[in-house]
Symmetry: C2
Subunit: 157 residues, 2 copies
């Protein structure tokens, strides 16, 4: 699956850069950094977390730029906003099609899962209550494998 000499995350980031270029955005250092972070993160991140990570690569980046860059990436559909128990300004790589997230409550690691067969059910609920269903949010919260292990053996943390 991997392309020669680059990781999945790297090729994903390259793909993002291409899309951003196509959309007419200029590829600046902050855009590259923030894209790289989101494209390679398996965790859902809020603006501050993105900012903190970004500064490690590019100390002079400003929080404002992070906000603006996230907005762009969302606009282009590369990342999506995710509501978390502690706020609704977190982001994660987007995935096309209607998929759903399973999220670790401890480390925010997240993965998409399929639930197409649910649409029929959702639609029938809508009919039952007289709603024209347009969209739905489905998120599962739990402990990921790694955080389960840490909970059993905190010394490893």
């Amino acid at each position: 699956m991997k392309q020669k000499g680059q990781s999945v995350a790297q090729s994903l980031q390259q793909n993002w850069i291409n899309k951003l270029t196509d959309q007419g955005f200029r590829i600046t250092k902050p855009l590259e950094i923030v894209s790289g972070i989101l494209a390679s993160s398996e965790k859902i991140l809020n603006p501050t977390e993105v900012y903190q990570r970004a500064r490690q690569f590019y100390p002079k980046i400003g929080l404002v730029t992070v906000y603006r860059t996230l907005e762009k990436l969302e606009q282009v559909g590369l990342i999506g906003r995710v509501h978390m128990p502690d706020g609704c300004q977190s982001f994660f790589q987007a995935q096309c099609g209607h998929q759903h997230l399973i999220i670790c409550v401890k480390c925010s690691k997240a993965e998409y899962f399929e639930g197409d067969n649910l649409n029929v059910f959702f639609h029938s609920i809508g009919t039952q209550f007289g709603y024209q269903v347009q969209d739905h949010w489905l998120q599962l919260f739990g402990l990921c494998k790694q955080c389960q292990a840490m909970t059993l053996n905190p010394a490893k943390e």
Copy 2:
């Protein structure tokens, strides 16, 4: 279903007042007003909306008190926090058991629906991804009957 001489909403509010008294809270005017609003609202409301409604009944109420009262009602489990597309600080009457919401995107009218059979599915997704599922959020968004009618015939709005 209704009790003699009082509406369902009124009896629900009385029930809330009883619970709050049991918990040792003092029944003040602001608490009564805010409880009444939430107990009788079929819409999900954010703090500002609650504040605006509350002022109609008790103009000298402060926004801070609304925040603090919502916190209390949430603590006692009478209302629950609901994440909406435009924010995550909205509230709605709580309902016990694991139920899910169907919400109108236009007017925020909401109703709970059952989906117990989903738990098996959610659990199996967890197993599949190595997560110990603890909780889930399921919300459907659409147009309620009334807002559908308004959309077709805006004159009536």
